[in-house]
Point group: C2
Chain length 160, copies 2
């Protein structure tokens, strides 16, 4: 996971190129890569509109592809290199994937300038849900803990 | 998107059942559904370990499937019904998918009790990144805005 600044700049420049080329190819202006030990495990570009998948952000695409490439659901020791600051979706994906480091070029304010909601969604996370335009609420059920009980009782569960 | 409380309870109970059954099937204890106008467009269960995809949370799986089912990358007017409070990944996916409402049964504290990081990741979002165990940093490049410039200049871009 040790990665020099000049190496980071090299990979970042490549991610930015992927992002720029992706606009011509009909996707969003975002590109990302998963790098480990000086090698690119996988790349990803934003594929939301071409694939009709609102979660197909460049980082998510790269993370999923890297996991398939190495046959694991964890990316320990990997660096997520991305053309733009990961939005809350992509940052959370990086956390769940257990990457070791994230480096980016443009930031959420650049994204906002281009019409993307990254900054707005960060802002939402810092505000109480009662103030959100999207209603998010709990409805308690008697058996709401049942799935977790089943999980805790399962001797051969695969934690992740 | 109007959905009565008894209807919500019915769908929620179904999501909880999906979650419980999924443990037996080798996945994580999470289940979700996308409901519109009283009909289920798609369901999803946690598939992280079976499919080696750290982003295959129940909500993400359901959102992706619903989009494929209706041929759109937006889920306007849909309700995301989920057995557990969406983690930051899934909540962000719901925001990007433009669902109209989210309802859940168990919460992040229940998830924590079962060993999942949902609450911890929410806590990270509320703390400065300098305090995170995961380094996330910017490296400014001269051409970091180039992808957005290409996007803004493209006359036939498909916004999402």
């Amino acid at each position: 996971m040790s990665i020099s600044e000049s190496e980071q700049q090299k990979w970042l420049a490549e991610a930015v190129q992927l992002a720029t080329a992706n606009v011509e190819n009909g996707g969003g202006p975002f590109g990302a890569m998963i790098v480990r030990d000086g090698s690119v495990l996988a790349t990803g570009t934003n594929q939301v509109t071409p694939t009709l998948d609102p979660t197909a952000h460049a980082e998510v695409v790269a993370i999923r592809a890297a996991c398939q490439a190495i046959g694991d659901y964890k990316l320990d020791g990997c660096v997520l290199v991305t053309s733009c600051e990961p939005c809350p979706l992509c940052l959370s994906a990086a956390l769940w994937a257990r990457v070791g480091k994230v480096v980016y070029a443009a930031d959420r304010h650049d994204a906002a300038e281009a019409g993307f909601d990254d900054r707005e969604f960060y802002d939402l996370f810092s505000r109480p849900r009662e103030t959100w335009p999207l209603p998010v609420g709990r409805l308690s059920l008697p058996d709401s803990f049942a799935p977790f009980q089943a999980w805790l009782s399962k001797p051969d569960k695969k934690a992740y």
